[in-house]
């Protein structure tokens, strides 16, 4: 809670925290060749002290911004006071229904763990989004890192692409927090469009000439007579330029070229930005990217809830079901965690405008892959179909808090959530204060 980066401490901390060790060359090299991603079971070093085995190499977060209604998606209550116009559809788990808005995901449910009893204390979009993405409630003086930032920070993998990518972000994109902005998610939009800032505007020769002038004329003059080793210790001009060029020229960018997949698969994911983003996420997993977040927004249905939710659910259903199946077909599901959720759910009570409002007291999160159980539903909301709104908040069976979820996902990725680290000003802090929910693991 007492946070601000003092310049000196921050510089030292970023040097200490950084795992990149490029040696800047004068002029321009084409950057390091990508290290092939071949490890099947990677042991993650935990500050060099404690090793926690994990097979998980990547995490895909399917982020539903705006608050998807659990009642119109993963936790329908058809025919009850709170059910609205939803009908249920049988899933591949016996006795479990999803809303009829998600028939394809229902068919894949046997590959997933579905938590129906998520709870939090944040009902504001921005605060709840930060809460869910970081596992901590927002604090005025400390910005906690998102899951992707932690995973990237703890990884000793080296690839040309960013290890933390956010596709189609709207508000509150995943940030590095106190780990530093170098762990912020690299943002990009519809994969069919050109990648943001990865394509130059002049030919290579001209680009080389321009950057040569920058390095050998302008930057050389700037460093004259100033702090020793200014570039290496502070400016990072050569390092970032070389890394940028590596990224622009790398073969790994083919992950974004979706035309390398056959048409049937592209159609199955959905011919829309979200569908394309999900397919790109699978291809990025193949390239070794550590965490990819894809956002589908527009779930904030204060008015006309049923139609709005169903419209969104259609896109989600196509893409999510295809993603899980494709990962399984490519033998990546064991090494990849898929997490699908929004920042909260929606009220059981329907308001006079036909909408549902914000509801953090019992909403759904879907997990698939990695060590998570398959074909398991955890928790429940309103199991006895109460007809009273008075105590409906209390009718959550086996609640899972957001810190618990974070602790569990981190553990699944081979990170000890109780491991202590230090913020740049020396405050000791753990990655998560939550409890690992072992009942979610196979």
């Amino acid at each position: 809670m007492c946070e601000q980066h003092s310049d000196r401490v921050a510089c030292e901390s970023y040097r200490r925290l950084s795992r990149r060790g490029f040696v800047a060359a004068s002029g321009l090299s084409l950057g390091l060749a990508a290290n092939p991603w071949t490890a099947l079971a990677e042991t993650l070093h935990v500050n060099g002290e404690k090793k926690v085995e994990s097979q998980v190499q990547s995490v895909i977060i399917v982020w539903l911004q705006g608050g998807p209604s659990q009642l119109e998606t993963f936790d329908p209550h058809p025919g009850t006071m709170i059910g609205g116009d939803v009908k249920g559809v049988a899933s591949s788990i016996q006795g479990v229904q999803l809303a009829d808005s998600m028939p394809k995901v229902a068919e894949k449910l046997h590959l997933t763990t579905l938590i129906r009893s998520m709870v939090s204390k944040e009902g504001d979009h921005e605060r709840a989004t930060i809460n869910f993405k970081t596992g901590w409630r927002p604090e005025p003086t400390l910005e906690h890192p998102s899951i992707g930032a932690i995973l990237t920070h703890k990884s000793n993998r080296s690839i040309d692409l960013p290890q933390h990518i956010s596709i189609l972000p709207s508000q509150a994109p995943s940030r590095g927090g106190f780990l530093g902005p170098q762990y912020d998610a690299f943002t990009m939009y519809d994969p069919k469009d050109s990648l943001p800032n990865l394509v130059g505007h002049v030919d290579e020769n001209r680009r080389a000439k321009r950057l040569d002038i920058m390095t050998n004329v302008a930057d050389a003059e700037f460093q004259r007579g100033r702090l020793k080793n200014l570039d290496a210790n502070r400016l990072q001009q050569s390092h970032t330029a070389n890394r940028a060029i590596s990224m622009m020229d790398t073969e790994q960018l083919k992950a974004f070229d979706l035309h390398r997949e056959d048409r049937a698969l592209r159609t199955a994911f959905g011919d829309n930005p979200f569908g394309r983003g999900c397919l790109a996420a699978v291809r990025l997993v193949e390239q070794g990217v550590r965490c990819i977040e894809i956002e589908l927004n527009g779930w904030d249905s204060h008015i006309d809830n049923h139609n709005l939710q169903y419209a969104r659910a259609k896109e989600l259903d196509d893409a999510l079901s295809s993603m899980i199946q494709t990962l399984k077909d490519r033998e990546l599901l064991d090494k990849t965690i898929v997490l699908c959720s929004g920042e909260f759910g929606r009220t059981p009570k329907i308001n006079p405008a036909g909408g549902r409002d914000h509801w953090p007291s019992g909403f759904s999160t879907l997990l698939a892959g990695g060590p998570f159980r398959q074909g398991y539903v955890h928790g429940a909301t309103n199991p006895a179909a109460s007809e009273s709104y008075d105590d409906i908040e209390k009718l959550v069976v086996d609640p899972v808090t957001i810190p618990d979820l974070h602790a569990t996902v981190l553990r699944a990725c081979g990170i000890d959530p109780a491991e202590e680290t230090q913020t740049p000003i020396g405050r000791p802090i753990v990655w998560s204060e939550g409890r690992i929910r072992n009942e979610l693991f196979a």
């Binding site: 601000q4 943001p196 004329v217 003059e221 702090l227 990072q236 001009q237």
Partner: protein, 578 residues
């Protein structure tokens, strides 16, 4: 018939003659108007001269205070056996002023106008023109808005950030005394749409109790921004790390959890009574459960120190505001001076900006400026003038005589090299793309377009929000944005309409002239002889171009300008304060 025709012809000729006379007369008047209207340089020049003369008595800084400050800094440097750098040239000082007050580098036009003045007058003239420019008030109001209320959207119905910021800009433009401004914030009541200062409270009304300002957040923020003390950790426990000292002078008193909650207790009653009356103080007693206790207890409001300055006959928030801004409450002046110093130089005088360490060697310097700030009736403009007059502000950031170290920077024996904030980099890029000063006189479509691009750039670059006075280390994503993003591309492509680089390339007489003008526009300085030689010999030489395929359509000078402009936009010098 022929008689009628012959009469009609002279009449039409008369009308033609009359019309021609009118046109000539109009043209003559127009030519006089244009010929006698002052040129842009002359207008700006006379504005600055008038500004300097008009305000000369009211803008005179206390040179004694400046001398004492300079001495104190010098003593710190000497105690560490550190040499002092030389004074920097006027262009460097003006660039620092421009970055601090407007968020961008200087314009080519401004530099040319200043070159027409005697050198000794240039810095003060430029400073006064910036302080008179509405852009300064707008730019600084955003900086302080982030500190006062953060940069989040806040509760939808209860919060109007833009209104707050515009109100703050007006206060800065009028040089309202800072202590009275803060008192108005602390005691704010009413509708947040009608009384913009109320948004200081409504910004936090989205916590656990809807419609009620969050005393915890306000206490933490008040302490950081107005007292220069981070006490947020005391919300949950006493200080056991030795981080929070709440004693006065040389003594030490570790902060306690009770200190935090006694401060929060001043703000607990602020809530929305009804939509018509807005925020009022309902007098609710503050309750919390301290560590080790099982039940909540009532906590009475109490200031953390300097109790002798507290007037308990006033209502609680008024009493707190009065105590906070008391001329003898050193912490208030110090916290403000430290923040303004940070905005002027890129680094606080005593770091961190919102957690002043009283044992820091630079404390005496800070006290000198703080006393002067109080004497000036808490005038922010006067504080800026004073800072710009100090040796520390005017010093070079390099030395050819001694090796520069971090120790030199910490005590301002050299001017520190610090990363510009994202909006400063964006504004500097926009400024470098045009020869005129960016201002609000451009048409509304241009402004809207620029604001959109600015917001997008800052978002993509990575905005630190209310923590913007911290350090932003360079990242690869930022590098890609600068190398390949739209802002730099528009500023350095061959387009006479779009950017200054192309115009320089088109109208300069030769490559040498191009290089000089591009350096002036982008980096606000002339190239050194070494740079000029290198560029002409290695990159823009005729010999080099002879190797390339001949293309009659190539505009060589424009290419030189665009290539050089791109290189300078991506260089460290444009992105760092120095």
């Amino acid at each position: 018939m022929s008689e009628i025709n012959s009469q009609a012809a002279p009449r039409s000729r008369r009308w033609i003659r009359r019309l021609a006379t009118l046109i000539l007369l109009f043209g003559f008047v127009f030519a006089i108007f244009i010929g006698t209207r002052p040129s842009r340089y002359e207008s700006a020049l006379s504005l600055r001269q008038a500004s300097t003369l008009r305000n000369s008595t009211s803008t005179a800084v206390d040179l004694l205070a400046v001398r004492r400050f300079d001495e104190a800094v010098k003593l710190v440097a000497e105690s560490q056996s550190l040499q002092l750098a030389e004074t920097s040239d006027w262009l460097t000082q003006c660039r620092r002023i421009s970055l601090a007050l407007m968020g961008s580098g200087m314009s080519f036009d401004d530099i040319r106008a200043l070159e027409a003045l005697p050198e000794r007058e240039r810095v003060s003239a430029f400073l006064e023109s910036c302080l008179a420019d509405p852009r300064w008030a707008n730019y600084w109001s955003e900086r302080f808005t982030r500190a006062f209320v953060g940069d989040n959207n806040g509760p939808f119905l209860l919060y109007r950030r833009r209104k707050f910021r515009l109100w703050l800009a007006e206060q800065f433009a009028n040089d309202r005394s800072y202590d009275s401004l803060v008192r108005q914030l602390i005691t704010a009541n009413g509708l947040w749409t009608d009384r913009p200062e109320v948004n200081f409270y409504t910004a936090t009304a989205d916590g656990d109790e809807e419609g009620r300002a969050d005393p915890i957040r306000i206490a933490g923020r008040t302490s950081r921004v107005f007292l220069g003390k981070r006490i947020d950790c005391l919300q949950c426990h006493d200080d056991f790390l030795g981080n929070v000292n709440l004693a006065e002078g040389e003594e030490t008193r570790p902060g306690t959890q009770a200190d935090f909650h006694r401060l929060a207790a001043f703000f607990d009653g602020v809530s929305v009574k009804n939509p018509l009356s807005g925020m009022v103080d309902d007098g609710r007693e503050y309750k919390t459960t301290l560590l080790g206790q099982t039940d909540p207890e009532v906590i009475k409001p109490k200031t953390p120190f300097a109790h002798e300055l507290f007037n308990d006959h006033l209502p609680r928030r008024a009493a707190f505001a009065d105590w906070l801004t008391h001329p003898e409450n050193q912490h208030f002046a110090r916290a403000t001076v430290n923040r303004v110093w940070n905005l002027m130089t890129g680094k606080p005088l005593v770091g961190p900006v919102d957690d002043i360490n009283e044992s820091d060697p630079m404390m005496e310097s800070l006290e000198i400026l703080s006393s002067d700030f109080v004497k000036s009736d808490f005038s922010i403009k006067q504080l800026i003038r004073t800072i710009a007059t100090t040796d520390a502000f005017r010093r070079e950031s390099r030395s050819d005589v001694f090796e520069v170290t971090s120790d030199h920077e910490r005590c301002f024996a050299v001017f520190p090299v610090s990363r510009l904030r994202p909006e400063q980099i964006a504004l500097s890029l926009f400024q470098a793309a045009t020869l005129q000063r960016l201002n609000d006189e451009s048409n509304i479509l241009e402004q809207l377009g620029r604001n959109d691009q600015l917001n997008k750039f800052v978002q993509d670059f990575g905005d630190l929000g209310e923590k913007e006075l911290g350090t932003i280390p360079p990242t690869v994503t930022q590098r890609l944005l600068l190398m390949n993003g739209g802002v730099v591309e528009n500023a350095t492509k061959a387009d006479l309409v779009a950017n200054a680089a192309s115009r320089i390339g088109q109208f300069s007489k030769d490559e040498k002239d191009v290089i000089r003008q591009v350096y002036l526009t982008f980096l606000n300085r002339y190239p050194t002889e070494v740079e000029l030689e290198q560029l002409l010999a290695n990159y823009f030489a005729d010999e080099a171009r002879k190797q390339e395929p001949f293309d009659a359509s190539r505009n060589i000078k424009m290419e030189v300008a665009c290539d050089l402009g791109y290189a300078l936009m991506n260089s460290a010098e444009l992105q760092w304060n120095h």
